[in-house]
């Protein structure tokens, strides 16, 4: 294989593919990046067996086609520090030389057939949408997915197509984000997949051009995304996603509207006294006013005040401030709408159009 390519494009591609490739694996072949040179393109392939990515460089001159496996980490770091415009990749026998100007590295390669087979994008059950649209749904939900060990299915984001809409849901069992958008699909199209959060965050990385048309596809065991120059596959989580629709309250008796960034600010200052293992801020709503209270045994107490529109008698509810701040940071308008019934039922935040965030309060059993 013999290829000439643009340094900047190669650097970008290697950086993205490296985001997937494991530094240490029981299967050493996947610590490599697989370079595939065809007539008019160079493809960089990487996988950790959960997520796989193909990244294509078009602006290349291929003298000899071929496939080669080179250590991903080294290749990435070497290319990152090159300064000349053009990089040449030349492999033969059991080594591969990457050179640019007077700089060169000679890497020992391994047999390319040890690399796992990475699928090709399937057009059936694939639907077009704008990169920006899909990216937004990822950002709207991924922060609410579970991180700590627990139920496996909650480590993924539920992606559904139903009645002409694409819906995405993430929850860690204490808060839940749900968002939906119109998608161009046949009326009877119905799909459901739980995609690992980490995988979707990789998806986000290749959606750099907001106006690009991309395609998503639902397959038996994986969820895929195709852009102009990349394809990414995430193996689905095989599990039961919690029945989320039951926990999104219809309408709450108490309705509050407040400035989202001011609320973030007040939550931050009230929560400064709370300890990491007992994060709670009580919100007391009175006519057109919110008082925020936090206290921690042996540390002290803090209060904050702000205006808000609220009608009704005094009510209060306590939340983990981190959960609220996570959601409020995503709020797409200046004002956030909060609804809840009482201090033991979930709070429902409207963060944008077709974008709801539900948080369970903190309660004291009596």
């Amino acid at each position: 294989m013999k290829v000439l390519c643009n340094r900047e494009q190669l650097r970008e591609g290697l950086a993205i593919v490296n985001g997937v490739i494991p530094t240490k694996s029981t299967r050493p072949a996947i610590e490599n990046v697989c370079l595939v040179a065809t007539e008019n393109a160079l493809e960089l392939v990487g996988t950790d067996l959960e997520i796989a990515i193909r990244y294509r460089l078009d602006d290349v001159k291929v003298a000899d086609t071929g496939t080669v496996l080179i250590p991903a980490r080294v290749a990435n770091e070497f290319v990152r520090d090159l300064s000349e415009e053009t990089v040449s990749i030349d492999s033969g026998g059991d080594n591969c030389v990457i050179s640019s100007g007077g700089d060169r590295v000679e890497l020992v390669t391994i047999e390319s057939d040890e690399f796992p087979v990475v699928a090709r994008f399937q057009e059936t059950h694939s639907y077009p949408l704008l990169a920006e649209t899909f990216n937004k749904q990822i950002h709207r939900t991924s922060f609410a997915a579970a991180r700590e060990p627990g139920r496996y299915a909650m480590h993924g984001i539920l992606i559904e197509i139903e009645e002409g809409r694409l819906r995405m849901v993430a929850t860690d069992g204490r808060r839940l984000a749900v968002t939906s958008t119109v998608i161009d699909c046949p009326e009877d199209a119905a799909h459901r997949a739980i995609v690992p959060t980490k995988g979707l965050q990789m998806f986000s990385r290749i959606l750099s051009d907001p106006m690009a048309r991309v395609r998503i596809s639902f397959e038996e065991t994986q969820f895929c995304l195709k852009t102009d120059n990349a394809e990414i596959y995430a193996r689905l989580i095989d599990g039961e996603f919690p029945k989320y629709s039951q926990v999104v309250p219809a309408e709450g008796a108490c309705k509050v509207e407040a400035d989202a960034s001011l609320l973030v600010n007040k939550l931050r200052l009230a929560s400064t006294v709370t300890s990491a293992d007992a994060r709670a801020v009580r919100l007391v709503f009175t006519e057109d006013h919110i008082e925020l209270l936090a206290r921690a045994t042996g540390r002290g107490r803090a209060t904050g005040q702000m205006d808000a529109s609220y009608q009704g008698s005094e009510v209060d509810i306590a939340f983990n401030p981190d959960f609220l701040i996570d959601g409020l940071k995503q709020c797409e308008s200046d004002r956030v709408h909060l609804e809840f019934n009482d201090r033991t039922s979930p709070g429902k935040f409207q963060l944008g159009q077709d974008y709801t965030y539900v948080v369970m309060p903190i309660t004291i059993d009596t």
Binding site: A146, E148, P149, G150, R151, A153, M154, T171, D172, G173, R174, R175, L176, E240, P242, K243, V247, A278, A280, A318, N320, T344, P346, V358, M360, P361, I362, T363, I364, D365, T366
Partner: protein, 411 residues
């Protein structure tokens, strides 16, 4: 404040035995012990000084105690009475300072700093407390007064019984140096043995070693024992030291092999511990079952629940599973312990899904242990509140789980 010691350690002398002798004055001067009968494989809980002269001490099997002291007067323990006296003593402490850290029924640390203008210095308070205890309970206490907890405890022990010992700042070295290293809190049998092998027998010799050297040989506990050897102890008297666990265990009069009978006993203990937790406004998260075979092999199994509880049925549900992991065969002891305690008023993050899909950190989720729905748990808890009121009024046996009701109770 500098220079004057402010920490008191008060320790009742042969507490249980002294209470009994007080109530049965004809026993005065005789070797008296409180504990379980030898035939029921009991152990000594407390021994009078007359009994101690024969070598009888607490935690000794009663059989051994009887062999050492054939004339031993053995009395069954009456914990209700001791608890009653304990309350009296603790309230005497609190009348002098709010900073009281009880260590057991008959032992506590007190910090008197800040109380000087009201009650005098620590030495005066110590003397007043000893006088009050004698007047109000008829019992004798030993008191140590020192600048630190470790030294105060050491001091109360030095002149026991009926001791009153003050260790002032400038006396620390002369008191500590000649004492054997075993007197240091944290130096157990094995550490003592290793110190002896280094030729270190007294606290003075230990204090003479380089700190780094002790740390190198004994790890972080080396720093601790070296500090104590120098009289350094930064621990404060903590009046709100939270309870860490509640449990109940019993040694049987005869070994029991019948699994059903053992499970019934286990359930009883769980109910008892649960009642105790509720009474104290606590709930726990980790359940441990302890069993001992006739050959004294002790088996413990524990599991952490996904949420705190103080309900007997919940505790037993886990305890039973843990007990199933204890190999069959006769047992001489069985017990249950609940730890990971917290105040029932502790705030809890609500969960969205009742079906167990809440983030469960513990083993409970993985092992298919069916988590109670919050609704059901709440109802059960409310029922317990009512039942507990009846229990407190008419006795604990009035309300029990159906499976524990025997024919004897049905009449």
């Amino acid at each position: 404040m500098s220079g004057t010691p402010s920490i008191l350690h008060v320790d009742m002398d042969a507490f249980y035995a002294s209470v009994e002798v007080r109530d049965l004055p004809e026993l005065a001067g005789q070797p008296v012990a409180v504990g379980g009968e030898a035939e029921r494989r009991g152990v000594i809980a407390a021994a009078s000084y007359e009994a101690r002269a024969f070598g009888v001490h607490s935690a000794m099997p009663t059989v051994t105690a009887r062999r050492l002291c054939p004339n031993l007067v053995l009395l069954p323990p009456n914990f209700e009475k001791y608890t009653q006296v304990s309350r009296q003593i603790m309230s005497i402490f609190r009348s002098y300072t709010p900073v009281v850290e009880p260590l057991s029924l008959d032992e506590a640390f007190l910090d008197t700093s800040g109380c000087e203008r009201l009650h005098g210095d620590a030495i005066e308070i110590g003397r007043a407390i000893r006088r009050d205890i004698l007047r109000e309970t008829g019992l004798v206490a030993s008191i140590g007064v020192a600048p630190t907890k470790f030294l105060a405890k050491l001091a109360s022990d030095l002149d026991k019984p009926d001791g009153f010992r003050v260790i002032l700042e400038h006396q620390i070295r002369s008191v500590l140096d000649p004492l054997p290293v075993e007197k240091i809190f944290g130096v157990g049998r094995s550490t003592a043995k290793r110190l002896h092998s280094l030729g270190i027998r007294t606290i003075g010799e230990l204090a003479g070693l380089e700190r780094d050297d002790v740390v190198r040989r004994f790890g972080s506990s080396g720093a601790w024992i070296h500090d104590l050897a120098h009289g350094i102890d930064a621990r404060r008297v903590n009046p709100r030291r939270p309870e860490k666990s509640r449990g109940m265990e019993r040694t049987f009069a005869e070994d029991i092999s019948d699994r059903d009978q053992l499970k019934r006993l286990l359930y009883e203990y769980c109910e008892e511990v649960a009642f105790d937790l509720r009474d104290r406004g606590l709930q726990g998260k980790t359940i441990a079952v302890k069993a001992r075979t006739p050959s004294f092999k002790t088996i413990t199994r524990s599991r952490t629940l996904d949420r705190h509880t103080n309900l007997g049925a919940r505790i037993y549900a886990t305890a039973r599973e843990l007990f199933d992991r204890v190999p069959g065969g006769p047992l001489r002891l069985l017990g249950v312990q609940v730890s990971g305690l917290e105040d029932v008023r502790t705030a809890h993050q609500g969960v969205l899904f009742d079906d167990g899909s809440a983030p469960l950190g513990g083993e409970g989720a993985a092992s298919g242990d069916s988590p109670e729905k919050p609704g059901k748990e709440r109802r059960l808890r409310r029922a317990m509140l009512g039942a507990d009121r009846l229990r407190k009024k008419y006795g604990k046996r009035l309300v029990q789980p159906g499976s524990l009701v025997s024919d004897r109770d049905r009449t």
